[in-house]
């Protein structure tokens, strides 16, 4: 008995945990096919309509919000990744005044509660007189994403042997060539990870966005507002799409990685 308990407990527990995690996603996905009118709470019947006409409800408000989120995410990611990578390299490779203080300050946005950060930023924008729109959202997102980029890329820079860059210089590479051909390719996995993280954080953010967005709608904001009167099934469609795309990306990376490892194993 004792043995069979040990044998079954772990799989059952893991299965339940996985199920628990998957239920909301499964619910979202299933209800994207719900033939609902306004409220998407009770099952009304199966339809592909919502997937086919995703941008047609409420004058395309769902798609508008979704597009805004994608745009903000992309711009904030590019800005935060560029700046954050440069900061990370500077902090690891160079000795300058206030280096450790800079390092410490970069941690603050991660430690500060989002409500405080959002409210503080909103107050600053108000006192400086910047109208709240897309730009203020992008600025806010870039600001908190930088911290995550710096932390991620810093670890990668620290593990990079400085002799590699020296070898590049020794082999007639100018500073720009050494960066482009050695430093950047070797940091790329870290930079990509940081960019993905930034995008996810920006796309997902509600609290800071809500304080600094003015009339501009983003996907999380739209969902939050419409939750009061019933989220349209089109939101489920978009959410499901994001989920499916993410799964495809992860699976592709894993499969190609495994294939590469097999090829390497065959070589040696």
């Amino acid at each position: 008995m004792k043995l069979s308990l040990g044998k079954w407990l772990l799989p059952v527990y893991s299965g339940l945990a996985l199920l628990f995690l998957m239920i909301p996603i499964g619910y979202t996905f299933v209800y994207s096919f719900n033939d609902s009118l306004k409220s998407n709470i009770t099952w009304q019947g199966f339809t592909f309509d919502k997937w086919l006409n995703v941008c047609n409800v409420q004058n395309g408000a769902v798609c508008q919000a979704f597009g805004n989120s994608l745009f903000i995410g992309a711009v904030a990611t590019v800005a935060a990744t560029t700046l954050g990578t440069m900061i990370a390299i500077a902090i690891v490779r160079y000795r300058f005044k206030f280096r450790s203080q800079t390092s410490l300050l970069l941690f603050l946005p991660m430690a500060t509660p989002e409500v405080v950060l959002g409210a503080g930023l909103a107050a600053q924008f108000l006192s400086v007189g910047v109208p709240k729109d897309m730009l203020t959202i992008i600025l806010a997102h870039t600001m908190f994403c930088i911290s995550f980029v710096v932390v991620t890329v810093k670890a990668r820079v620290a593990s990079l042997d400085p002799a590699l860059e020296e070898a590049g210089r020794d082999l007639y590479g100018s500073a720009a060539q050494v960066f482009a051909r050695i430093t950047f390719p070797l940091l790329l996995p870290g930079i990509l990870a940081a960019a993905l993280l930034s995008f996810a954080l920006s796309f997902d953010d509600f609290i800071i966005t809500n304080f600094n967005s003015g009339a501009v709608s983003t996907f999380p904001k739209y969902i939050y507002i419409s939750a009061a009167r019933g989220i349209p099934a089109e939101a489920n469609v978009l959410a499901s799409m994001v989920f499916i795309i993410a799964i495809i990306v992860v699976v592709t990376v894993q499969v190609s990685g495994a294939a590469k490892a097999r090829r390497l194993a065959k070589l040696s």
Partner: protein, 399 residues
């Protein structure tokens, strides 16, 4: 020489009054050094002696605090690393992990826009016998193969000067010996000037035409390996390059050809031309393999110094030779290497022995004995470097 062209031959390297200070310490002080074109020059010293800093200064990876660096007569002190006709084989090899072996080797050629970089890279890989692995990534190679790729990546550029930063340190003994000979062969073939930095005295003696022994940011002595070994100028050199038995004492008499030193009541003679200090307290020495063991007091011979009696306190057999430690009252412990010409040791632990050596084999040091009264021999080194060199050659001939 323009960076866009191959050096047709090695170039002289000249360091003039080089000084390098880091915050808190001075790595190199007033270093003057000329390395003639086409030579194999070794900078030998313990870690922290400034030898790697010297190499990095020549490569342009560090800037000297003062002084000038000339390569082939051209002042390169203010040139950046990528503008100098110099290539380095790094201690960690520093192969680019994201490129294939071939791309690693072609890297320098591509940066200088030299025609047909791939074919030239293949040629260099053929030279180090690794062309069949050209499309592998560096991490798929063994340590010795990586070392050869690093070497190919440097020599493919035909630099006027090749810098080697302890490149053989990570290899096992057998591989290291193969690489030593390979390096030497390549140097003969391509005629480059090699500057080799190492803490391995045996490696320096085997490979270099000229050795400079560095200590605390200065060159203690420079010369051919044999000259440095047979006639060290300072106690540091005497002990860093092989082992030495050193004694201190006052000069008691001087003739036209030799000085006599009183070492705890025993009179030791050193020829004038082999002594650096001729009066007062001096430090003199003799190499362990120059000593002969005697079971009884040897008869007086003007051509030989005698010391003893002493007591054998340790015997260790190492194949070709046997190492004896002999404690001589008032003098200290002496190391003796004896070739194993017959079976069995010449003396056992506890035996009373006398030691003698040819007067011409002693040397007198330049050190002030007050600074360094008695230097303990480095007992970790098992056999002397010269034996290593000859055994290495025979071993590789047989292989």
């Amino acid at each position: 020489m323009a960076v866009g062209a191959f050096a047709d031959r090695g170039a002289d390297l000249e360091l003039v009054g080089i000084e390098k200070r880091f915050p808190g310490f001075t790595a190199i002080e007033n270093l003057n050094l000329t390395i003639p074109a086409g030579s194999f020059f070794a900078l030998l010293g313990p870690s922290g002696c400034g030898k790697t800093t010297t190499l990095r200064l020549v490569a342009g990876l560090e800037e000297p605090t003062s002084g000038r660096i000339l390569i082939g007569g051209t002042d390169v002190t203010t040139q950046k690393s990528f503008q100098r006709p110099v290539n380095t084989v790094f201690q960690s090899y520093a192969l680019f992990p994201h490129m294939t072996v071939l791309e690693n080797v072609a890297f320098g050629l591509r940066r200088r826009k030299i025609a047909d970089p791939v074919a030239k890279a293949h040629e260099a890989l053929l030279l180090v016998e690794l062309d069949h692995l050209a499309h592998r990534k560096p991490q798929q190679l063994s340590g010795g193969q990586q070392q050869r790729v690093a070497l190919a990546r440097a020599i493919v550029n035909r630099p006027a000067l090749l810098l080697l930063d302890e490149p053989l340190g990570a290899l096992d003994l057998k591989l290291r010996r193969q690489m030593q000979l390979e390096l030497k062969t390549i140097q003969d073939e391509v005629g480059l000037t090699f500057l080799h930095v190492t803490h391995d005295q045996e490696e320096a003696m085997t490979m270099a035409d000229t050795i400079a022994v560095m200590n605390k940011g200065r060159i203690e002595q420079m010369g051919e390996p044999q000259q440095l070994y047979e006639l060290p100028r300072t106690a540091f050199v005497a002990n860093f390059l092989g082992q030495s038995n050193l004694f201190t004492g006052p000069v008691v008499s001087t003739t036209s050809t030799a000085i006599a030193v009183d070492v705890s009541g025993q009179k030791i003679v050193v020829p004038l031309e082999r002594a650096h200090r001729l009066s007062g307290e001096v430090t003199i020495g003799v190499r362990p393999e120059k000593l002969t063991l005697h079971a009884a007091a040897p008869t007086h011979d003007a051509g030989r110094n005698v010391m003893g009696p002493g007591k054998v306190i340790d015997v260790s057999f190492s194949g070709v030779s046997t190492q004896y430690l002999v404690a001589v009252p008032g003098v200290g412990t002496l190391v003796v290497f004896a070739q194993n010409m017959a079976f069995g040791p010449a003396a056992h632990v506890g035996a009373e022995v006398w030691l003698s050596w040819n007067v011409d084999h002693g040397f007198g040091l330049d050190d002030d004995p007050a600074d360094a009264p008695r230097f303990e021999a480095d007992l970790d080194t098992k056999t002397i470097a010269q034996q290593r060199r000859s055994s290495l050659l025979t071993e590789l001939e047989e292989a």
